[in-house]
């Protein structure tokens, strides 16, 4: 065991990590932005719950909800939210292969080939949703 004297030597310099550590480097900032996408995700759920509530209160209430969605500041907010949820999707699909180390025939499948099917499935699911809602 190292002696406590040298181990916790009071004069060894220990820099404090600033609260703004994440502003210090681009990769850190991108990381925090990725983590903040969870706020947009939670916001979306909140929005959907409000929408469901309005739906349950009758056509007039739902109409008022639609009006609110059209307000300029709502649109601006939702645009920001959309950017964040897209960032979530992209970072999620790009990072998922790292956790899986997929091997085929003994060789490691390149990350891009593991991520690509996710994108395809995403587009298919999105198109499917749109089709479901648009057909009379």
């Amino acid at each position: 065991m190292p002696s406590p004297y040298t181990e916790f030597h009071p004069r060894w310099y220990r820099a404090r990590v600033s609260t703004w550590w994440w502003l210090g480097r681009w990769p850190y900032l991108r990381f925090i932005l990725r983590e903040l996408t969870s706020l947009a995700v939670a916001y979306f759920v909140g929005l959907t719950l409000f929408q469901l509530h309005a739906l349950s209160q009758g056509p007039a209430a739902y109409g008022r909800f639609q009006e609110t969605l059209r307000l300029p500041w709502m649109l601006a907010l939702h645009f920001v939210a959309l950017l964040f949820v897209l960032y979530h999707t992209i970072t999620w699909f790009n990072l998922a292969p790292k956790a899986m180390a997929v091997r085929l025939g003994g060789r490691r499948v390149p990350d891009l080939l593991v991520a690509a099917p996710n994108y395809v499935l995403w587009l298919a699911a999105s198109a499917g949703l749109a089709w479901l809602l648009l057909r009379g």
């Binding site: 925090i32 939702h78 939210a81 949820v85 999707t89 749109a130």
Partner: protein, 116 residues
């Protein structure tokens, strides 16, 4: 063996919620916050939407869409507060806020989707 920390459970929820959010939320947001209100696409009528939502599959789907992403948020935001703001000493409060919020949202979704 299972006497290890409960982190795997919360991480599992985080992952499930992350997958649901990644695949479904962008399209939902684009359609319901932009395309339909702004008339880029023909919005389903009130009656049609209500009819759709009332089907059992839709209720389940919407419940998953509302609940799992909230648990994704709970886990991720908890860590963001720990690391970003370095307020780990408040971790009980943070935990209660995050998972309490997720449970509240889940309960609200359950109520709305049950009674609609």
């Amino acid at each position: 063996m299972a006497g290890r920390s409960n982190d795997p459970f919360f991480w599992g929820l985080f992952s499930a919620g992350g997958v649901v959010a990644a695949f479904l939320i962008p399209a939902h947001l684009l359609l319901f916050a932009f395309a339909f209100p702004l008339g880029w696409l023909d919005a389903p009528s009130y009656a049609r939407l209500l009819e759709l939502v009332r089907t059992p599959w839709a209720r389940l789907y919407l419940f998953a869409l509302c609940s799992l992403p909230l648990f994704h948020w709970a886990h991720r935001f908890r860590f963001t507060l720990y690391d970003g703001l370095q307020i780990k000493h408040l971790n009980e409060v943070i935990f209660a806020f995050c998972y309490g919020g997720a449970l509240a949202g889940t309960a609200t979704a359950a109520y709305l989707l049950w009674s609609i």
